[in-house]
């Protein structure tokens, strides 16, 4: 019997007090995610239970109990608060590969009341600068491998007081404002009094891309744990004896909501692989650690499909009992394939950085309609709206996917962008930016974005940030970035580039521009294709009409061209 049991029964009279009660929380109590994910588990007698089984790409393994998690997160909390004098509410960036220090420091920041800002380790200097400037970060926790990127931008970050480099060797060369730190060599801190956060105390800042402007920091609060705890229990079906693997990097919200907070608030053992995608290594990991619940992304699943069935036969994956996916719609073929090859279907889940937790999903025991997002989580009102922001009652008619707030983990604002935050709410609905339809049985079906945001392998990229950096290239006069359909990644970036006088559209230049974007932003933002053009379609007011380029790319009707500027 699954944790959720009957979905229909759960939907009757649902209240988030279920989670609060299980977490022994009463209104007005202090609540600190860092404490809940480590110390509380020790108090419940789970101190010697494995919390983290970490494996590096060379096969090196490290194991940590909840007691270890408590001690090591205490070390970070102590360093940040007592030694460096950082205070509650200060933004502290974590910029690391998926090493144990990432997890310890994330909890340590929350314990001392700071706001954790985890950033994807593949971000280039422009991606880093945008985010660090926006949140006025006080400190960055990073590694020797990644600190060169911070050093390149440090002079443009006057609020940045501390750069802490993870290093066993205290004598590494350090620059101004830097220090070395090793959790294993730091004095053992048995007890750290967690900051008495309340439900509304800010906890985590996750950056997400929109259709206009630079990425926005979605601010979460400590109350988000109620949502993440219960959805991890009911959707991921996590149970005390599970060995759980979430493949997401904590630089993205999946990696914190369900790679840290959800599982550890439940006292679950989880596996982390710090390495790139290699099918054999993934299967070997599942076999070796007898992973039971696996939460991954459609892009990875499609790459596993591409790797084929034969390779699966070399491994014993019988430990698996529940599979879920996230980030982009899971195509029906992938659901059918996984059932055939793993004996289990992937359950698609839908949510966003702004929602903080899974809100539409396929649930254990519920019939899966391959290709469907599933149904709304109990207690959540989800609808599709017209462009007048009124619910569409007609079945299977596409509209704007919207949700009725509140729920505990909904974002509380975009950092330094109140207008942007308020624009996401219309008529009492949170407008997701996704388009969807609802069928006769109440299942939601994804119909694409309602804006120009590009979804590359489950990660949203804004065209503006790509175009802005393209303009920094010496050869580029004008540019437009769109999403191009891709069989593995759902979409990849395609850039249209008009060159400055004196530059020729050569293969070398194309490669140069691609690598330029990759190094400045990330491989996710890197155009997989560049088309050199003489000019770009624009409105009379000069706004680039990306939808025209997108339609032409997809062989679709270009729609209303009445606002198109005539040449």
């Amino acid at each position: 019997m699954s944790n959720i049991g009957s979905y229909e029964e759960r939907c009757k009279d649902f209240d988030w007090s279920i989670a609060k009660k299980e977490l022994s929380y009463k209104e007005g109590d202090p609540i600190n995610i860092g404490y809940y994910c480590s110390d509380r588990n020790c108090e419940l007698g789970l101190g010697s239970k494995l919390a983290l089984i970490w494996e590096g790409f060379t096969g090196e393994q490290k194991k940590f109990t909840f007691e270890d998690l408590k001690i090591h997160s205490n070390s970070f909390a102590h360093l940040l608060n007592k030694k460096l004098g950082l205070k509650s509410g200060e933004r502290i960036v974590v910029f690391m590969d998926k090493i144990p220090e990432l997890y310890f420091s994330f909890l340590g920041i929350l314990k001392m009341g700071g706001i954790a800002v985890p950033l994807f380790s593949a971000f280039g200097e422009d991606s880093l600068l945008t985010r660090l400037q926006n949140c006025n970060a006080s400190a960055v926790l990073t590694t020797r491998k990644l600190v060169p990127r911070i050093r390149k931008i440090k002079d443009r970050l006057p609020d940045l007081r501390h750069v802490v480099i993870m290093s066993e060797d205290e004598n590494i060369p350090l620059k101004e404002r830097e220090m070395a730190f090793s959790y294993s060599k730091a004095p053992r801190i048995e007890s750290f009094e967690s900051f008495p956060a309340t439900a509304e105390t800010p906890s985590v800042l996750h950056y997400t891309s929109g259709t206009t402007g630079q990425p926005k920091g979605a601010l979460h609060v400590h109350a988000s744990i109620f949502s993440q705890y219960l959805t991890a229990k009911w959707v991921l079906d996590l149970r005390p004896d599970d060995i759980y693997w979430c493949t997401a990097d904590p630089g993205w919200v999946t990696g914190t909501s369900y790679g840290i907070i959800g599982p550890w608030s439940l006292g679950i053992t989880q596996v982390v692989l710090d390495g790139g995608f290699v099918p054999e290594k993934w299967y070997e990991l599942i076999q070796k650690h007898k992973i039971t619940v696996w939460y991954s992304a459609p892009t990875a699943i499609r790459m596993l499909m591409k790797a084929g069935k034969e390779i699966v036969k070399k491994f014993d994956l019988t430990s698996l009992r529940h599979l879920c996916s996230v980030g982009e719609p899971l195509n029906p073929e992938a659901v059918i394939w996984s059932e055939e090859v793993y004996g289990l279907p992937f359950h698609d889940t839908w949510w966003q950085t702004e929602t903080g937790c899974i809100l539409v999903s396929n649930y254990p025991g519920m019939k899966i309609k391959p290709g469907s997002m599933g149904k709304a989580f109990p207690g959540i009102t989800a609808a599709v709206l017209s462009h007048e922001f009124e619910p569409i009652t007609e079945k299977n008619k596409p509209g704007l996917l919207a949700l009725r707030p509140p729920w505990p983990s909904i974002f509380r604002t975009y950092w330094n962008n109140k207008n942007g935050y308020e624009s996401k709410f219309k008529n009492g609905w949170y407008i997701t930016g996704d388009r969807s339809s609802i069928d006769e049985d109440g299942y939601f079906w994804f119909m694409g974005r309602d804006d120009d945001v590009i979804n590359v392998a489950g990660h949203l990229v804004g065209p503006f940030e790509i175009e802005s950096v393209l303009l920094e290239h010496e050869a580029v006069a004008e540019s437009a970035a769109i999403g191009k359909p891709d069989s593995i990644n759902m979409e990849v970036v395609k850039a249209f580039v008009a060159l400055k006088t004196g530059f020729q559209p050569t293969d070398d230049l194309e490669l140069s521009i691609m690598n330029f974007i990759r190094k400045k932003l990330s491989s996710i933002a890197m155009p997989q294709e560049i088309e050199f053009v003489d000019s770009l379609p624009k409105t009379r007011s000069g706004k680039i009409m990306r939808r025209v380029l997108r339609a032409q790319e997809r062989g679709e009707p270009v729609g209303d061209l009445s606002t198109l500027e005539n040449d």
Partner: protein
């Protein structure tokens, strides 16, 4: 060909000037190159080495080491 590939990878993907790359260095597992960055290598191989790598060969398994990349290039040449 090996030296050209190593030089390109060092120039485009390695940030630490003291980090050594050879023909057996794990490129994908280590996270040095991810699946989305493979297109950069494929474009380089096409433009500089004159070999087109078809989509079905442009998979992570074929780019895990320089040796593996060379093996893939030689297969595509046939």
């Amino acid at each position: 060909m090996k030296e050209e590939l190593i030089e390109y990878i060092k120039k485009e993907f390695v940030e630490d000037p003291d980090e050594e790359i050879d023909e057996t260095t794990l490129l994908i597992s280590s996270g040095l190159i991810d699946s989305l960055s493979i297109v950069s290598l494929v474009a380089f191989i096409d433009k500089k080495l004159g070999v087109k790598i078809p989509d079905e060969k442009g998979v992570v398994e074929n780019f895990e080491t320089v040796n593996k990349i060379i093996e893939t290039i030689n297969e595509c040449k046939k």
